[in-house]
């Protein structure tokens, strides 16, 4: 097990160099004058200095390899430049917005995973029966619904018509309390902080704002998980050991839950890495639709205002996040499926 993790960790720098190189190549499509903004540390620097001075100061007239090394050095110091659209340092903006996205992802992941697997199991159990056809149509429609269309419809119905789940992260009254000094920010996640501050009213308000984005994210991912669980369950159901289990006279429930589903979940675990990948993309849309101020909305507004400093910075952050998540997924996968370690 340990050697497996060690081997994975050895591979980490290679991926990191690749990810940073790719972003760096994208950056070098910009002219040195445009790039200055990704290097300066505060708007003050623009005073009393011409652009040419700044280009020279940050070595943007240097050859490519020198620029790359300098840039990575800055990155290691956590310096991602100054964002015009967010009006603060990119690193600062990410640190400020990330808890919101993490909160959304944490709230979404449980209904997504449990619901998707449950639907897939039902579909496989009733293979080729009306319930299976119904859930298949549900999955295909869900898979075909772009997240921004579905999100807007959810917003129109649940906020426009019923007024239940408003957009944003908190209502005005709750927001004004959160911003006062009495309310201690522990994590930046509204629900957690509200509980730690013993403010149940704020907790409920935060949950109310989370429901609509979570519904949107869940429905789309259920479709995906349903499909994978279903086909993987169907595959396992044809295996000999399942026939043996049935022949032993085990009840259908035990056969399904113990023998079939456990093994069928292995491919589901494999896709969890790519699910996180898609979830990050989905978060950009969902946050934009529901005006939920997380890192996805930060990227989207940055992109709309052509704030490449911010977009490159957040993308780098996504890249690093994904590398880490994939590492965790791989390790978990090796725990679930011992065959992997032997490869």
């Amino acid at each position: 097990m340990l050697t497996f993790i060690a081997r994975r960790l050895l591979f980490l720098p290679v991926v990191l160099i690749g990810v940073t190189l790719l972003i760096f190549v994208a950056m070098s499509l910009l002219s040195p004058y445009q790039l200055v903004s990704t290097y300066i540390k505060s708007p003050e620097e623009l005073k009393n200095q011409s652009l040419d001075d700044l280009v020279r100061k940050y070595g943007l007239d240097q050859p490519v390899h020198v620029r790359y090394i300098n840039w990575v050095k800055n990155l290691l110091k956590g310096d991602l430049g100054y964002s015009v659209s967010a009006n603060m340092h990119v690193a600062e903006a990410i640190a400020k917005r990330f808890p919101a996205t993490l909160e959304l992802a944490l709230f979404a992941i449980i209904p997504v995973v449990l619901g998707g697997i449950w639907l897939g199991t039902i579909s496989a159990k009733h293979y080729n029966k009306p319930l299976d056809h119904f859930s298949r149509v549900f999955a295909i429609v869900g898979w075909s619904l772009p997240d921004f269309v579905f999100g807007l419809i959810v917003l129109m119905i649940f906020y426009g018509v019923f007024g239940w789940f408003p957009p944003g992260r908190l209502s005005m009254w709750a927001d004004s309390i959160v911003l006062t000094g009495d309310f201690v920010r522990y994590t930046g996640m509204n629900t957690v902080d509200a509980l730690l501050n013993k403010r149940l009213d704020i907790f409920w308000d935060a949950v109310r704002h989370l429901i609509a984005p979570v519904i949107t994210l869940s429905y789309l991912w259920w479709a995906y998980l349903l499909r994978i669980t279903r086909s993987s369950m169907l595959e396992v159901m044809n295996k000999d050991y399942v026939r043996t289990a049935r022949a032993k006279g085990l009840t259908e429930r035990v056969v399904m839950n113990r023998h079939v589903r456990r093994n069928a979940l292995i491919p589901v675990a494999t896709v969890s890495g790519s699910m996180v990948l898609g979830l990050l993309g989905g978060v950009v849309i969902v946050e934009t639709v529901f005006d939920y101020k997380g890192i996805g909305l930060l990227t989207a507004t940055g992109a709309q205002q052509l704030d490449y400093t911010l977009v490159l910075g957040t993308t780098l952050f996504y890249g690093l996040l994904l590398v880490l998540v994939n590492l965790v997924v791989d390790v978990l996968y090796a725990i679930i499926d011992p065959r992997v370690r032997l490869e």
Partner: protein
């Protein structure tokens, strides 16, 4: 193919797709360019006509069967010509990225060794970014426009096909008839094109056709975020981004502007659905594991 026609779901998919193809082909007759542009030889038919000033949408009427959206753009016109845009983006992105993927993936697998290793790590890096976010970065740097969207999508799409065909070629490479061709002194290029590709390309092409829907979704997502087609260009994603401003309706009628989101939304969903219905049936036919 017969199985495809017998399955009611894939049949529905084929019919919807056919309707879209007809709409795209006959767009100039279904939604003719209005007379006010008739004398302007430089007028681009993809530009959606606007009827009047101000931004407030206008309910469906006889002249405008689906109403006018934000900025008084005609929804019906936009949807009909947007069908062409959708096919254009889908076909170009799928075609080019498929071609690039097949060329790079198959040569990499055929040559093998260190070269293959390097190429595949390269592919890994490309694939480690969320597709949408990568596309956002490229369009931010290059600027707005349909051509840039297409470029960005191709840039991050070919890797999937490359990986797929590489796996297939690696298998076929060991087959005896390839060995025989090699022993017979056939050139490498000819072996690859005449002997290996015909036996490996099919699953890639199916995969590619199944991805048409998701490519159109990503392209319209970029337009929705304001990073895609220029304003006023017939594009479904952009029409939905117009609808965003009016989604909550008026205080006494929250659904007052339903038509701004429902029609373009329906167009995207049906388009993607038709590809997915066909693809899903294909997958069941091709996947022998399920046929127990």
């Amino acid at each position: 193919m017969k199985k495809l026609l017998r399955n009611p779901l894939s049949m529905a998919g084929l019919i919807i797709l056919l309707v879209f193809i007809l709409v795209a082909v006959f767009a100039p007759w279904i939604a003719p360019v209005p007379d006010m542009y008739a004398n302007n030889p430089n007028h681009d038919p993809y530009r959606v006509p606007r009827y009047g000033w101000g931004n407030t949408p206008q309910a469906p009427s006889k002249e405008h069967p689906m109403g006018l959206t934000h900025g008084k753009y005609d929804i019906f016109y936009g949807i009909v010509w947007g069908t062409r845009t959708a096919f254009k983006v889908g076909l170009i992105v799928t075609g080019v990225s498929c071609l690039v993927g097949i060329v790079i993936g198959s040569t990499s697998a055929y040559i093998g060794g260190k070269f293959d290793e390097v190429v595949m790590r390269f592919v890994d890096v490309f694939m480690s970014f969320p597709f949408l976010i990568a596309a956002i970065v490229i369009t931010t740097i290059l600027g707005r426009g349909l051509d840039k969207v297409i470029f960005a999508l191709v840039l991050f799409r070919w890797t999937g096909y490359a990986r797929l065909i590489r796996g297939n070629v690696l298998q076929v490479k060991q087959e005896e008839y390839v060995m025989a061709a090699k022993a017979g002194g056939v050139s490498h290029a000819k072996i690859l094109i005449r002997h290996i590709l015909p036996n490996t390309i099919f699953p890639v092409l199916i995969q590619a056709s199944m991805n048409m829907g998701s490519i159109v979704v990503t392209a319209s997502t970029l337009s929705f975020l304001g990073l895609g087609a220029p304003e006023g260009y017939a594009d479904w994603g952009q029409m939905i981004s117009f609808a965003r401003n009016w989604i909550l309706g008026t205080p006494d009628n929250p659904l007052a502007y339903w038509y701004t989101v429902v029609w373009p939304g329906l167009a995207i969903v049906l388009f993607v659905l038709s590809w997915n219905l066909i693809g899903d049936a294909f997958r069941d036919i091709m996947d022998p594991r399920i046929q127990g």
